[in-house]
């Protein structure tokens, strides 16, 4: 038994199944990050100063100014990875497999670079005593960027699968494989988009 509209489009909706599925998933993700951002708004409007001053008498403000260049670099890396993601999909549409491999590889590499920069940012902050429990800004910072980081890690796993072992599906069902890349691409753009909101909210608006 085959499920209909796995590959071909349904006439009256103009969709294949997993495309609708991923859009619904992204809708729920918007509600998740919407909940997180509204917590940010509520806690910030209730705070006398922002970022708040912790028990040690310091706020993280001076460190944030230092890390703006890192975060800017990361923003550029992620936007770049979104572009290469689209290129990977287009290459498949044009059946240029080596180009697909290359663009997908660059996307994964960009994601890894993002995480490495993030790792140094985290360890620097923790080293200076700015742990999640320091104040509500730090709590939000680690929770929001941490969840975003988990989404990046999830993305890397899926992308690496389609770059490596999952690629053999191309030989059997090329159209279905192309659809999968489109779907994972939509997810990847969403993860980038979240960062585009996180970057100004956490680094610039202080």
């Amino acid at each position: 038994m085959e499920i209909p509209y796995n590959v071909e489009l349904r006439e009256d909706t103009g969709l294949y199944n997993s495309k609708l599925g991923i859009w619904l998933f992204l809708a729920s993700e918007i509600m998740l990050f919407g909940g997180l951002f509204s917590a940010y708004i509520l806690l910030r409007t209730g705070a006398p100063v922002w970022p708040p001053i912790g028990a040690d008498g310091h706020s993280v403000l001076h460190m944030l100014k230092e890390t703006v260049p890192h975060a800017t670099f990361n923003t550029i890396v992620l936007i770049g990875s979104s572009v290469t993601m689209v290129m990977a999909w287009v290459s498949l549409k044009q059946k240029e497999l080596s180009k697909y491999k290359m663009y997908m590889g660059i996307t994964i590499a960009c994601a890894c670079i993002f995480l490495i920069v993030k790792y140094f940012e985290y360890s620097h902050k923790i080293h200076e005593g700015f742990v999640p429990a320091h104040d509500t800004y730090m709590a939000l910072y680690f929770t929001l960027t941490g969840l975003h980081g988990l989404h990046i890690i999830g993305g890397i796993i899926v992308l690496a699968y389609f770059w490596g072992p999952g690629f053999k599906m191309w030989g059997l069902e090329p159209e279905r494989f192309t659809n999968r890349i489109e779907v994972v691409g939509l997810y990847w753009h969403f993860v980038d988009l979240v960062w585009i909101f996180l970057f100004p909210v956490l680094y610039l608006l202080n």
Binding site: I3, F25, A27, M31, L43, A133, T136, A139
Partner: protein, 581 residues
């Protein structure tokens, strides 16, 4: 691929199955077990409420064993700490592990693809994983009972700051919830995609059975309302594990000691995020029930459902409005009169579509040739029960009477009328109605009627007195049921009546359980009647009972008409199947 299921191993076929029918049954059995566990917790609590601090009969040894394990003192009675655990877990289990998996996981999974003429759900593997994620979430919740300090004990609402500083059980509760939320999310995405993409040829939106519409709206509620609770759960987990202060205000003193946290958080933040889910959740519980009742009423009055379009538009509007009423749970939190005004207005507006739905179902009875079989009895019983539940909600939705009624037994009575006789009667109705489809065997009618009449009496015996106690001002969540309060003395005698009703309600389920098992073991007819209720919808008319393995239909159904064409003038029989050209 065809017929490959014949050679599948037992594990592949029944345990890790990707067939929506098997998964629906798995959901159904697991959720019924959880329903039983949640009910058992309540039966023990009802002993404590009727006869405070005396040893629980029959299961006293078990209660003492659990209390010892959790570190509470007990002589076979239910200590107050354990009462709190039972109270919190009764709510959690009933809602998240019992009713939602039953109405969405079991009924949605089994019936929706059959009713729209689809071969399976859109994503069969995802369907399997959503069941197993739910299962793991349930195991985590059950396991937490055996931790020191017991399971979660801050109420099913888990309000901080109390929940932030509660025992380890609360951490397990949060982790369990993350699993349950993920499961609901995957399941509901699957249902929406199935309804949008896999409708049979000719099954246009306005030809969908009303049950499918309710599942469609319910799934949207789950997709959009659950994630904010996931966000809140992650915050609370951070508070508990990493010592952050999302929900802890500055200057909090616990047990005479200043709490060593940074502060700056907001307990109200939790309530907003929690109720943003938990109010739509009420509609998640009740909407599929409305769908089940509508199917059964149309079938057993032998006439078209009254106002199909009004029902559909009402349920869509209701789903939309359910996102903007959440803070009517928070009138007394000091969030301000402007907020209260807004939310009491939206609350009054949302009662309009509910009343339209209820009126349509009642008007459907007008002039019908009603068959009083067991599913119909439960459906008819559902109407006044849900009506009482809805009407008793109006005073709570207005901020002034809510000052008196907030957090009293009146609230408990109100929402139990909605979800206990409300939802659960619809579930029973659905089980009696679709059992012949699932197994190819009929349930015994006499036992079914015994089950209905006694359940109907005792349900009211439990929940009606709660309204009386609540109006007298008795608070909820009191481990002694109000014994130590002067103002409660006049209404205390109701506690015994309610408790006996609860235990007798359990006895009234014996004919049901016996009926289920006995009918299941019965030899199936050689060629079971595929359509014993003479229904019009696709699941009855176009496939066998039980439906064939993977694929559901011998030949893809083609739909030519609306779902409730009963007693069409000029037709030979009093029902015209949707697939009849």
């Amino acid at each position: 691929m065809s017929n490959s299921h014949n050679n599948e191993s037992f594990w592949r076929k029944y345990i890790f199955s990707t067939d929506h029918k098997i998964i629906g049954i798995q959901y159904g059995i697991t959720a019924l077990l959880f329903l039983f566990i949640g009910f058992s917790l309540m039966m023990v609590m009802r002993w404590q409420l009727a006869y405070p601090d005396t040893a629980v009969p029959f299961v006293g040894g078990l209660v003492k064993w659990l209390a010892d394990l959790n570190g509470f003192a007990s002589d076979g009675n239910l200590p107050a700490d354990l009462y709190n655990v039972f109270g919190a877990m009764h709510g959690t289990i009933m809602i998240f592990l019992g009713v939602v998996p039953l109405v969405v996981g079991a009924f949605g999974n089994y019936i929706v693809p059959l009713q729209i003429g689809a071969p399976d759900m859109a994503f069969p593997k995802l369907n399997m994983s959503s069941y197993w994620v739910y299962f793991v979430g349930g195991i985590i919740m059950l396991f937490s009972f055996f931790l020191p300090g017991g399971a979660a004990n801050s109420g099913w609402t888990s309000y901080p700051p109390l929940a932030d500083i509660a025992t380890t059980g609360q951490t397990f509760w949060l982790i369990g919830m993350v699993f349950l939320i993920t499961s609901s999310l995957l399941g509901s995405i699957n249902i929406i995609v199935t309804i949008v993409q896999l409708r049979a040829e000719g099954m246009t939106w306005m030809r969908l059975p009303f049950f499918v519409w309710t599942q469609f709206v319910t799934s949207f509620l789950l997709v959009l309302a659950f994630p904010p609770l996931e966000a809140a759960g992650i915050f609370q987990l951070m508070d508990r594990v990493f010592g952050t202060s999302f929900f802890l205000p500055s200057g909090l003193v616990v047990g005479g000691q200043a709490l060593q946290v940074s502060g700056g958080g907001s307990p109200l933040l939790w309530q907003h995020l929690f109720w943003f889910l938990a109010h739509p959740e009420v509609y998640v519980l009740i909407l599929p029930g409305m769908g089940v009742v509508a199917e059964i009423i149309a079938n057993n009055t032998r006439k078209p459902i009254w106002g199909y379009k009004s029902l559909v538009y009402s349920v869509v509007f209701l789903g939309f409005m359910s996102f903007v009423v959440w803070a009517h749970h928070m009138f007394l939190t000091g969030m301000g009169q402007a907020m209260s005004n807004f939310f009491q207005t939206t609350t009054m507006i949302i009662s309009v579509p509910s009343v339209i739905i209820l009126s349509c179902l009642m008007l459907s009875l007008w002039g019908g040739s009603i068959r009083l079989n067991t599913p119909m009895l439960f459906a008819l019983g559902w109407i006044p029960m849900f009506g009482i539940g809805g009407l008793t909600g109006l005073p709570l939705g207005l901020s002034t009477p809510d000052i008196h009624l907030h957090d009293t037994y009146y609230v408990i009575g109100h929402f139990h009328y909605v979800v206990a006789p409300g939802t659960i009667f619809a579930i029973f109705a659905g089980i009696y109605y679709w059992f012949p489809k699932i197994t190819g065997k009929m349930l015994n009618e006499t036992l079914g009627k015994v089950h209905f009449y006694f359940s109907f009496i005792f349900m009211n015996g439990i929940f009606w007195p709660m309204l009386i106690q609540g109006l007298a001002g008795v608070s909820r969540r009191l481990a002694d049921g109000g014994t130590s309060y002067a103002h409660a003395q006049d209404v205390l005698f109701w506690n015994e009546i309610m408790s006996y009703s609860a235990w007798l309600l359990a006895v009234a389920q014996i004919p049901f359980i016996y009926n289920l098992i006995n009918s299941m073991l019965k030899e199936r007819d050689e060629k079971p009647d595929a359509n014993p209720w003479k229904a019009t919808t696709v699941e009855w008319t176009d496939t066998t009972s039980p439906p064939m393995g993977h694929g559901n239909f011998e030949k893809a159904p083609v739909v030519h008409r609306g779902p409730y064409e009963y007693s069409v003038p000029g037709e030979a029989s009093d029902f015209t199947p949707q697939t009849q050209s």
